[in-house]
């Protein structure tokens, strides 16, 4: 009995699963892995919150209370430009995280600045769209459909705004403190957040604008 227990105690579960080619497993995971995993859990919970807003929008899509519907309101050319800006910013954000791993300060700051500009362009177009809707009498108080529209798209806009503040903080921190291990972890989390916002935007332009404008 004791012999079999001892025999199992020698088997490292990670080696059994075949990753021993990368070297033997040495204790708990590094802080970088744990931080990334924890932030990934946060992003997933954020996505679940968004899914509640999406469900609300989908349920209320037809409840226009005699007011304008998506077909009357949405300008798909505007949405395409917004999408292009956000996609490009996701790409430059990826370039920034490569630069951070290479510890290249200049390229990191350039890529982050471009990401910031693309993000601001996205927010400007969205703000102008909201302003023009309110000016046309299609504000969030007009119908249940428009309330759901403004909360869902506005929530995404708030996330992008928070992301831009975080982006500027990271630029300042790299400038002041360099690529310390804790700064690198924050850059990793920021990149995850920014890419996740782009994933949510895919759902927004598909469900809200493209499907919504067919109503």
């Amino acid at each position: 009995m004791a012999d079999t227990t001892m025999a199992y105690a020698h088997i490292d579960p990670h080696q059994v699963r075949g990753i021993d080619e990368f070297g033997t497993h040495a204790g708990p995971a590094s802080r970088r892995i744990v931080t990334g995993y924890g932030f990934w859990i946060f992003i997933l919970s954020d996505i679940i919150m968004f899914s509640a807003f999406f469900a609300t929008y989908a349920v209320l899509l037809g409840q226009t209370a005699g007011g304008p519907s998506g077909r009357d309101l949405f300008d798909l050319r505007n949405v395409a430009i917004e999408t292009a800006f956000l996609l490009a910013s996701s790409f430059t954000c990826g370039m920034a995280s490569i630069a951070a791993d290479m510890r290249n300060k200049t390229w990191f700051q350039v890529a982050m600045a471009v990401t910031c500009l693309f993000g601001l362009a996205f927010l400007t177009i969205e703000a102008r769209e909201f302003a023009s809707l309110v000016a046309r009498g299609a504000g969030p108080t007009r119908s249940a459909f428009l309330s759901a529209f403004f909360s869902l798209v506005g929530l995404h806009g708030l996330h992008v705004s928070a992301g831009i503040l975080w982006l500027l903080t990271m630029m300042a921190q790299v400038l002041a403190k360099g690529f310390r291990a804790d700064i690198q972890r924050r850059i990793l989390c920021f990149a995850l957040f920014w890419h996740a916002l782009d994933i949510i935007w895919i759902a927004v332009f598909t469900v809200v604008y493209l499907i919504g404008s067919a109503q």
């Binding site: 070297g23 590094s30 990334g36 990934w40 996701s90 332009f205």
Partner: protein, 132 residues
Amino acid sequence: MTHGHDDAFDRTDLAPGDEHVEGGRLRLRVLGYVTGLGLAILLTATSFFVAGTNLVWEPSIPVALVVLAIAQMGVHLVFFLHITTGPDNTNNVLALAFGVLIVLLLMSGSLWIMANLNHNMMPMDQIMQMQR
């Protein structure tokens, strides 16, 4: 990618969005992002084209749009967030699977229940009559 344990980032040290490089891997990593960007642009352009075209049978358009969106989310997860099926990524994939399950339950459950309620609700003029 070396086996050096003095390196702060071991090969097993991979989190979502994280992929450590040394000089030689730089091109490969940039190429990964370029591939992702190209695929994403292709899928987005297709989505906008399908939404505005008369060439496609109309009732199929929403289904096509949802499929294209899911495909593009997959592209973003693989090329930008680096969610892979590797043994170092099991935890991330499992968390993602659980998140997707909750999202599906929430969305389909809401739509199903609300459509059912809507279907069973008495027409508004009859409610008015009863209140009189």
